[in-house]
């Protein structure tokens, strides 16, 4: 927050953006916390929607509009529906289920907090007040040009991977 205030005093231009960023970030962190702590599986999926929408907004902040649109289409549109289908197919009751939490929660919390401490120290140490200047949105043309020239081999590999995953999912889940 101190760093945020510093930047705000340097350039008035970014005040609104930083306030909006803070609101979205707090919402995302609360929603992510609910995803990993709520006892209701359906509620967890719905809180995940909030996190994914927040991630899309962060992409917009960073000027990556095509990634933001893809995030909304693929994640909120398809992945969440898959999750809700999975919940429906694997559980009869839709209410709270106290059996979802494992016994090793305290140990998991320690691991998470320590991991965050290491990451935060490393990040603050290496990128103290590095600015990221976003000058306008990144065009879809540039992204598609890059995909179909420089990154054509990984693109084809991803298409083969998706085909393999499709066939694999059918083979694994098929009844016979």
């Amino acid at each position: 927050m101190q760093l945020l205030a510093q930047v705000s005093s340097e350039t008035d231009l970014y005040v609104a953006q930083n306030i909006f960023f803070a609101v979205i970030a707090v919402t995302m962190i609360y929603a992510a916390f609910r995803v990993v702590t709520t006892a209701n599986v359906v509620h967890a999926a719905l809180w995940l929607v909030v996190v994914l929408a927040g991630v899309a907004v962060q992409f917009l902040f960073l000027g990556a509009e095509f990634v933001a649109v893809t995030q909304v289409l693929v994640y909120i549109g398809a992945v969440i529906v898959l999750f809700l289908f999975g919940v429906m197919l694997t559980r009869a009751s839709m209410g709270d289920d106290e059996t979802v939490a494992g016994e090793k929660r305290a140990m998991a919390a320690i691991v998470g907090v320590l991991l965050f401490a290491v990451m935060a120290v490393a990040l603050v140490d290496s990128f103290e007040d590095t600015r990221v200047d976003i000058d306008g949105p990144q065009g879809v043309t540039e992204v598609s040009d890059a995909i179909f020239s420089q990154y054509i081999v990984p693109f084809e590999a991803v298409s083969v991977l998706l085909l393999a995953a499709l066939i694999g999912a059918i083979v694994v889940a098929r009844k016979d």
Binding site: G112, M119, V158, V172
Partner: protein, 99 residues
């Protein structure tokens, strides 16, 4: 805006996802926590792409989204198979390989 805003936010999401993977024993909830981790990675990729004014960050974020979609499909198929075989998706019961 600061680069660290985005990186720290993504670190928080990543650690919450790690906590979810370790603390949950319902297969669906573990898959959701994995999605949190993958989204944290995507924020990092796009943030560094914007920082370097390189389009590669966005391209790799798109690849990650595709791989995550494939992962969810396979993961759900495995969870459904597990449910069909043992009427439960409690991961602590999946201990056939435990020594």
């Amino acid at each position: 805006m600061l680069l660290n805003q985005f990186l720290l936010l993504s670190a928080v999401l990543f650690c919450l996802g790690v906590y979810g993977v370790l603390a949950r024993k319902n297969g669906m909830l573990v898959l959701m926590s994995v999605e949190l981790i993958l989204n944290a990675v995507n924020i990092n990729l796009v943030a560094f792409g914007a920082f370097r004014t390189d389009v590669g960050g966005s391209v790799f974020a798109l690849f990650t989204i595709a791989v995550a979609a494939a992962e969810v499909g396979i993961g759900l198929a495995i969870v459904l198979l597990m449910y069909r075989n043992r009427r439960s998706i409690d991961l602590t019961q999946a201990d056939l390989l435990k020594g």
